[in-house]
């Protein structure tokens, strides 16, 4: 999330509520390693990325939900037997993304 520090500061100073999504773990071939991060403002503005573009849309949805509920959680994207994983990575890997309000 090092490359997001400027954006996070700008939003913090403006009093904008922001959710932060960070890749915490990857299995198999994944485009971005742990530490890749993306921030989503309450207005839907996006900075950074967590994959090669495959799952960013779903992360925005989760981020806005987390801003609404205040509930931090890990979401997983990738190939799985579980039908619930509708959004996947074309590379066949799995990414685990921790999403939380940026309130710290």
């Amino acid at each position: 999330m090092q490359d997001l520090l400027d954006d996070l500061r700008r939003w913090r100073r403006a009093g904008t509520r922001v959710a932060l999504a960070r890749v915490v773990d990857v299995d198999g071939s994944a485009p971005r390693p742990a530490g890749a991060a993306m921030a989503v403002s309450e207005h839907g503005e996006v900075a950074g990325s967590v994959s090669g573009g495959c799952v960013e849309g779903a992360v925005v949805t989760t981020a806005l939900e987390v801003l609404e509920s205040g509930e931090r959680r890990v979401v997983t994207f990738g190939y799985s037997d579980d039908e619930a994983f509708a959004v996947g990575l074309t590379c066949g890997g799995t990414v685990h993304v921790f999403v939380e309000p940026f309130d710290w």
């Binding site: 500061r9 913090r12 773990d25 530490g35 921790f98």
Partner: protein, 272 residues
């Protein structure tokens, strides 16, 4: 009002101090954070700030592991049992390491150096160009460099060498034995991860002989990538800069790639 934890993190990153941010992501106390930042000087020791850990033993274990992840910078998750035990998976904690940017020191204020500074900046290096000639070593000629130093390169490398490590690079582009032999000798005295020197195959042979005369042994000579760069047939300063930076990446990842050092054909590609 006390600064937020993220403000402390940002201050450390801006000051170029290594930091590790630990976040509880599953198991209980989700969102709890612990920030370790390295001190200004090695002897001053790290600073720790913790927020939201009800389990003191877990906090102590996370503090220990976060401190260990400062150097070498290590990002990843760890699982802990109750009270910070290592044999359970009650808690998952994500450790994110923030390291200052790697450094590239470019020896020689030549056109190739300007292109290399630009490409190295794209890759996130903090770039220094060093040359003893004040007429050439100017910020106007190297706008992409973070720093332009007018000094004898060997003296500059001796001054900053203790701070160089495996992520850093020294690229000697002078192709002048008067400058590059002392610069390579000075770079070999450091722990720099990548060391390369530019020059034709004849210059490279001549330099190797001079380095041996200066007391450099085979093991040290093996650290020197010369002629510098991958065998891409690069023609322009910009193409050469890409060939050099690609070799730096391969050196760090340990991939076997066609370096110029391992081939014997012409260095520059033929047009058409």
């Amino acid at each position: 009002m006390a600064p937020l934890l993220s403000e402390d993190l940002e201050a450390a990153v801006r000051a170029g101090r290594p930091a590790v941010l630990a976040t509880a992501i599953a198991g209980g106390a989700v969102g709890a954070k612990l920030l370790v930042t390295a001190g200004d000087r090695p002897e001053s020791g790290p600073t720790v700030r913790a927020d939201g850990w009800p389990d003191r033993a877990l906090e102590a274990a996370v503090r220990r592991d976060a401190t260990a992840a400062l150097t070498p910078a290590a990002t990843g998750t760890r699982r802990y049992g109750r009270e910070g035990r290592l044999d359970g998976d009650d808690h998952t904690v994500f450790f994110e390491a923030f390291a200052p940017p790697p450094r590239m020191i470019i020896v020689g204020a030549v056109d190739f150096s300007a292109a290399l500074a630009r490409v190295a900046k794209v890759l996130g290096f903090r770039v220094t160009v060093c040359d003893a000639r004040p007429a050439f070593a100017t910020t106007a000629r190297f706008p992409a460099a973070d720093e332009v130093v007018v000094d004898w390169p060997d003296r500059h490398l001796a001054a900053v060498g203790a701070a160089l490590g495996p992520r850093d690079a020294v690229c000697v582009l002078t192709h002048d034995a008067k400058f590059d032999v002392p610069a390579v000798v000075a770079a070999l005295a450091t722990d720099v991860g990548y060391l390369g020197a530019m020059g034709s195959r004849r210059t490279t042979e001549d330099r190797a002989r001079r380095l041996r005369d200066a007391g450099v042994d085979d093991a040290d000579l093996a650290r020197l990538m010369a002629p510098i760069g991958l065998d891409l047939g690069a023609r322009t300063p910009e193409e050469t800069a890409v060939a050099i930076c690609a070799e730096v990446i391969a050196h760090q990842t340990g991939r076997a790639v066609p370096s110029l050092r391992a081939s014997d054909g012409p260095i520059h590609g033929l047009p058409g």
